[in-house]
């Protein structure tokens, strides 16, 4: 999968959850920069899973702390 295209689709899904309008870089963290709580994480993960038709288990989520890591994980999960 093309990384830029994947990043674009993820950014579009992320926008409604980005309440403070934080500028996204590969190093933007979900817990720290975006200040998401567990419910926000669940809703966002569900949106990503539905968009790409993948499962991101909680075990995998634990390894994903940044926007960049998420893009790479999605590409890997799509195969």
């Amino acid at each position: 999968m093309d990384r830029a295209e994947t990043a674009g689709r993820i950014a579009a899904l992320l926008e409604p959850f980005n309440k403070k309008g934080i500028a996204l870089t590969d190093n933007t963290t979900f817990a720290g920069d975006l200040e998401w709580d567990s419910l926000t994480v669940m809703d966002f993960v569900a949106a990503i899973e539905d968009e790409f038709d993948i499962i991101i288990s909680m075990n995998q989520q634990a390894e994903i702390e940044t926007y960049g890591q998420l893009i790479d994980a999605v590409i890997k999960l799509k195969g």
């Binding site: 817990a31 998401w36 709580d37 567990s38 899973e49 038709d53 499962i55 288990s57 909680m58």
Partner: protein, 420 residues
Amino acid sequence: MTQIAETAQPAADTTDTGGAYVDLFSKFDGLIEQRRALLSTGITDPFNLVMEKVVSPTVAICNGRETILLGTYNYMGMTFDPDVIAAGKLALDEFGSGTTGSRVLNGTYAGHRAVEDALREFYDMDHAMVFSTGYQANLGVISTMAGKGDYIVLDIDSHASIWDGCKMGDAEVVPFKHNDIDAMEKRLRRIPAGAGKLVVLEGVYSMLGDIAPLKEMIAVAKAHGAMVLVDEAHSMGFIGPNGRGVAEDQGVLDQVDFVIGTFSKSVGTVGGFCVSNHPKFEILRLVCRPYVFTASLPPSVVHTAATSIRKLMHAGDKRAHLWANSRTLHAGLIALGFKLGTETPQSAIISVIMPDLERGAMMWEALLHEGLYVNLARPPATPAGMTLLRCSLCAEHSADQVQTIIGMFERAGKAVGIIG
């Protein structure tokens, strides 16, 4: 990014601290400060109440005052049943105060077998395995059954013991939105072919007192080849024609592979269990670490539990009275203008939603001064960051007591400004 990560992260300090002392408790500073601020208002600590004397399943003495209990899990009021008490006393005399050993070594007495027999009869299932607590039953069964490469699909509002069972095992953990059948189906559909699948559900969710659409969810789980575990902790003895729980009530108990339950609610003592018809079930006794590596329940506990479970098989009148209590309290609180966790009474739990923790604590204290004990529940135990006053009814609450309770809620709610 996960719930787990979120709760355990002080900012990582990457500077070289050499041999400097790091206080491992600094991660709790936020909670300590929140608690200090709350108690500095002079409010009674809602998490430090002592029952000085317990008069009956529905009344205790707290702070010297007679208090109606509306925040216990004593749904069927079995804690002072004369037959149950007598069984416990006899067991103390005949078998002593404790077993001092594991179920698989010296810790299985006649009473442990007797209570497992009672459970098999109660649920009409082939196998029953008793743990020292309900928490350990979930911890043990889930972590042992679902291993590396398997998938656990579970409701996001699952009890802490279910989450901890997931965390202790090696399976991939996939949560879905509370009671959302489509969300569950999507996740099951995406699991790689050939992987083992366990769907974990609860009959009654204890925070809001709502029930699961088990009939529909179990049908979806089975269509995807998953095994199904249902925690019926808050429904045993009360929901379903024989008190077997929500799955029985919805006519799908025969589709449930594993029922998890507890003795610390309707049964009226302490302990946990799993019942199943799985032909290989008994092997769990050798491989399930929270079963093996802990002491078994004391003889008095298993004898009280066995007696209580057998009486619950014939408790139709008590079940009917408890339902009447639940309906009366639910309607009464709605009429007063309180916001409740469910639109209809679905279980013996009625949750009153508070605007925030501070006013929740004020309301809790006002009710205590009225002579009523309820549970104050707050995050992380509650869903969506809610503060709840959780009321749980008992089959031994009289109709008069329920009316008294409604009057107490009215006075306290007006005094605190929760209702107009």
